[in-house]
């Protein structure tokens, strides 16, 4: 037993070292890379991947394919911007308030909509996003189609306002990590199991005592709140927002990293985002003057190829590839799954 325990401990230690090195690399990048262009791409990767993770909670884990996440993000951006400019509230506090507002709006609006299943839910999420955008375009309070700008000024942490990209890089990275940990926590909690049961079969879930509506509302509220946080980050970073932020194309863009990376995994949006967004930005910077739309064309082609030949995404492919076996046995020294379970069980019974 002690040998097995030791093997498990080594595995956990190796895993922590590998993840630590990865994290260290990301923390150190701004120390060596000074180009604002490259840093901008990283910031983009961070907030788009976070948005994609928010979608993944609802789409990948619960099976409710929303196409309205740009609307939550936009609403969060508007809420925090208006709280800052009109009510003079501190940005950090207004971010929290914005998240609460968006969570409430999403919960209230989607409460009656959760009787809709499958494609009907997707349709209602599109209609909701478009309706919200049209409402903002027609509302003087929201600044109509011309949008809202945030004040410029001296660098300050209190006002979350910087001339350089480096602070945004770190805040973005922190946001990504926090949301990732939250999603991981949800995935392993009772809620995560309930959501995946609902994804597989809603009627069966109801039959074994899971309240589908309650869990779906929880998922949509958390997802919308994370999207609102991304909206706040986006607004503070770009310092200007307009209703174009909420178009359907942006919602689609927020889903692509998750589907390409692997929607069934919490890490899917991260992998997809890290691969797809730099590629897309590179194409946009290099060719957009002669061939506009080439970056989205590439996105579409990759998406179609992934869905056609690797339906579980890049991570799904990795999970069954020889590469994973190599990484597991040679680098991480992962013990067989039975050993892992045995030690886990022994630990749990020891605790009791």
């Amino acid at each position: 037993m002690s040998e097995k325990r030791k093997a498990v401990r080594t595995y956990h230690r190796n895993l922590a070292i590998v993840l630590g090195i990865l994290l260290l690399i990301f923390v150190c990048i701004p120390l060596f890379v000074k180009s604002p262009y490259v840093l901008n791409i990283f910031v983009l990767v961070f907030y788009m991947s976070t948005l994609s993770m928010a979608w993944n909670l609802l789409g990948g884990m619960t099976g409710q394919n929303s196409l309205g996440h740009a609307a939550y993000m936009g609403l969060g951006a508007y809420a925090s911007c208006l709280l800052i400019t009109k009510a003079g509230i501190n940005p950090w506090f207004s971010a929290i308030l914005g998240m609460v507002i968006v969570g409430l709006v999403a919960g209230i609006i989607f409460y009656p909509c959760f009787i809709l299943r499958g494609p009907y839910f997707t349709l209602v999420s599109i209609a909701f996003g478009e309706a919200l955008r049209q409402f903002i375009i027609n509302s003087a309070f929201f600044g109509r189609a011309s949008g809202v700008g945030l004040p410029f000024g001296r660098d300050s942490w209190l006002n979350f306002r910087f001339g350089s990209k480096i602070p945004y890089y770190y805040v973005g990275l922190a946001m990504l990590l926090l949301v990732y940990l939250l999603m991981k926590k949800i995935e392993r909690s009772k809620m995560g199991y309930a959501l995946r049961t609902i994804r597989e079969d809603e009627d069966a879930a109801a039959a074994i005592g899971i309240n589908p509506t309650r869990y779906k509302i929880m998922a949509v509220v958390v997802s919308a709140m994370v999207a609102a946080l991304v909206g706040f980050f986006y607004a503070s970073y770009i310092r200007y927002i307009d209703p174009e932020l909420m178009v359907l194309a942006k919602s689609t863009e927020s889903v692509l990293p998750a589907v390409v990376g692997g929607a069934a995994y919490v890490e899917g949006p991260l992998v997809g985002g890290l691969i797809m967004i730099p590629l897309s930005e590179f194409l946009r910077a290099k060719y957009s003057s002669i061939l506009p739309g080439i970056n989205m064309l590439m996105y579409a082609v990759v998406l179609l190829i992934v869905i056609r030949f690797r339906p579980t995404g890049i991570l799904g492919w990795y999970m069954h590839s020889k590469l994973k076996t190599f990484v597991d046995t040679k680098i991480l020294r992962k013990p067989p799954i039975e050993v892992l379970e045995e030690v886990e069980l022994a630990k749990m019974s020891g605790k009791e």
Partner: protein
């Protein structure tokens, strides 16, 4: 009064296009139970096809309609055979959804890369001819388009109702397993259905070119309205789709007339959400 009548007629003409788009979507949705999110982009492809047939061969836009329909049918059949049928087997709704979303992205951005974002029109000798019918003025291209629309709708209805292939399509949409048992080749029906759906979108696109500008995202608003038509008109019902499309067109123009043109989209989307929820509530009640 005359503005009201004029708005009614305009709504009716626009509604005809929503109907035609909705019918194509309805056939696809009914048979395969997938939402075709690139339906609007198919309309855009139909518009560009008409444009190039007109400019290179000097054809009249309305003569292009059958040609466009045939080309679009084969395009749809190829897409169905190479992309959608293999993915239908995986039973993953997310993948099927993003397959059509990805196709839409591919088509609209492909058009952007190939043709640029400029607006194009097809000039014809009769594009500026107007007909006075009492208090109402009508552009001739709109009237011709509407006439062709009605003919295509009736032909589609008759095709699905009386022809053998139409009966097979309806059989597959009601029960795919049962259809397979009685000897219908469902894969073939899927290909025919998707081809038919895209051909209808292409026809709508070709008919639109007479009085509408051509640009890479021209189809987006039509695509979503087609979905509204399917939901409101009822699955598998061609007359339902026809009337739902007309209703939608009238609703838009009435809102624009009585409230404000800028609110017409907002009202359309809110109405759609309400109809969806109420419809589902009625279904639950019936159970």
């Amino acid at each position: 009064m005359s503005t009201f009548l004029q708005a009614c007629v305009n709504g009716l003409l626009m509604g005809g296009f929503y109907s035609l788009m909705g019918m194509g979507q309805n056939v696809i949705f009914g048979v395969m139970k997938i939402v075709n999110f690139c339906h609007g982009e198919m309309l855009m492809v139909g518009m560009y096809l008409t444009y190039f047939l007109c400019t290179t061969f000097g054809l009249d836009p309305y003569l292009c309609v059958p040609l466009v329909a045939i080309i679009m049918f084969f395009l749809g059949a190829v897409i169905q055979h190479t992309l959608i049928t293999p993915s239908l087997g995986t039973k993953s709704f997310t993948n099927l959804l993003f397959l059509t979303v990805g196709l839409g992205l591919l088509l609209s951005n492909g058009a952007l890369v190939l043709f640029g974002s400029e607006y194009r029109t097809i000039p014809t000798s009769y594009s500026q001819v107007y007909i006075n019918l009492g208090p109402v003025t009508l552009a001739l291209p709109r009237l011709i388009s509407f006439g062709v629309l009605i003919v295509v709708s009736i032909a589609l209805f008759a095709f699905l109702k009386y022809s053998t292939i139409g009966k097979q399509i309806r059989a597959v949409s009601q029960n795919p397993v049962g259809a397979e048992v009685v000897g219908i080749n469902t894969k073939r029906i899927y290909i025919l259905t998707y081809g038919l759906g895209t051909a209808l979108a292409g026809i709508a696109g070709a008919l639109l070119t007479g009085f509408y500008t051509i640009f890479p995202t021209a189809g987006a608003s039509f695509g979503f309205r087609a979905l509204i038509v399917v939901v409101v008109g009822g699955l598998g019902s061609i007359p339902g789709a026809f009337f739902a499309g007309i209703f939608l067109g009238l609703l838009e123009t009435m809102v624009a007339l009585f409230i404000s043109p800028s609110y017409s989209d907002l009202i359309v989307f809110v109405t759609f959400i309400v109809i969806l929820v109420v419809r589902q509530l009625i279904i639950i009640r019936r159970k």
